[in-house]
Symmetry: C2
Amino acid sequence: MIERFWSISIGAGMDDPAVIRHPSASVEDYVKAIWEVAGSGAASTKDVAERLSIAPPSVTNMFVRLQEMGLVEYERYRGASLTRRGREEALRLIRRHRLIETFLLEHLGYSWREVHEEAERLEHAVSDGFTERLAEFLGHPGQDPHGDPIPAADGSLAPDDSFPLGEATAGQRVRISKVGDDPSTLEYLGDHGLVPGRLLSVREVRDLDGVITVEDEDGESHALGAPLAGAVFVRGE
Amino acid sequence: MIERFWSISIGAGMDDPAVIRHPSASVEDYVKAIWEVAGSGAASTKDVAERLSIAPPSVTNMFVRLQEMGLVEYERYRGASLTRRGREEALRLIRRHRLIETFLLEHLGYSWREVHEEAERLEHAVSDGFTERLAEFLGHPGQDPHGDPIPAADGSLAPDDSFPLGEATAGQRVRISKVGDDPSTLEYLGDHGLVPGRLLSVREVRDLDGVITVEDEDGESHALGAPLAGAVFVRGE
DNA sequence: CCAGTAAATTAGGTTAGGCTAATAATCTGG
DNA sequence: CCAGATTATTAGCCTAACCTAATTTACTGG
Ligand SMILES: [Mn+2]
Ligand SMILES: [Mn+2]
Ligand SMILES: [Mn+2]
Ligand SMILES: [Mn+2]
């Protein structure tokens, strides 16, 4: 009697198809970068390459792999967009990143300049268990210290209805919700008390040069050029 | 302060400015494994392979690379021993590991069972800056919670003059300095208050079965078999 | 609508760090 | 002191992630 054996399984033996494992640090950073440059749209090879400081062909190559992992939808020449799973992974990573930054700032005495780099590595090394215990330790913050919302453990992210101060109109009263995370911007804004939670009255929006003048709660007046005004996000009061 | 960014000269390549770069996580774990299995002697391929759960040929290969990096002295068929730099790297890693474990236990509510695995990954992701701020946050502990000494920032490690309780003699008064880190051992000892710092009087050392009977500070008596008695390290009082 | 440019992909490498199978060296107990 | 067992090395592969150079595709403005 002849017995026939055949196998339906794809790929190499039953060794370990790439389906299960945690994404590597690289994969996580790519997924986060796609989220950051494209949100729910499609991210271009170039944008992702620039954000990650990686050569474009490497990105093309990774887009293919991310699709095989089910993290993105990818079509040649038209970029990659996150699948539901990809989005979940991105938000899980961002949650870790922002909680870690909060911890470093509030408990270890880090300055803003140092925080991001450390978090960029640590975010890949902590488990979900660590993350939730850290959230508990921090009192389950909803935003990180410069106002970026921290995604919830279930992956949900509060919709953001804030807009750049540069788009405000004279006479408006607004509250700072978050500030850009460029180090020198952050330093300037911090020094002048322009931090999340602060209430501002928009005095003048000068079209000529884009300078916006605001008055803070203490009656202090600030004139901000377009780059700065674009880094301060506010919500109407 | 010790110089910790070191250069690996890569022959003719000049492709990269071959400077800098921390050892990779793998390299760090190898160096630590060599320290753990051999101290200042030579570690065998087999011992390191077993400790790291890696195939022996991979270890042989890494021994060669570690030597090229100046971290070990290696001779075919006679194992690898750490150079001064290798020892420094190992102790720096162990410092990070033990400080992280201390933090996880004392501040994030981890149990002993969970701590080690998390620290095993985090130890590779934290910077020296993080490590020193964490040490500060923790109050510069000299030992981790089960009594293992934490190497100082300068790489020095207090010499260990403790010995297993199994080697004590009847009538001796001893203080527990550290306990083995096997999870179930740890659980038993913790439940019975046999933790570092505790003072014990050795009542009986029974050669017949290796059982040691001790009395603690509260007059409580404990009979410990050889495996347990070997996991409790003490110092004479 | 089409040529020139910008973006993307393909082709062909590299390095780190793993693996297995085959072979060689060392060690040990009779 | 030597044969078998143990340990180590060599040979040959593999995958993940990067790279540069060459080529192809897509976009855009005249
Ligand atoms: Mn950040
Ligand atoms: Mn990162
Ligand atoms: Mn440990
Ligand atoms: Mn480790």
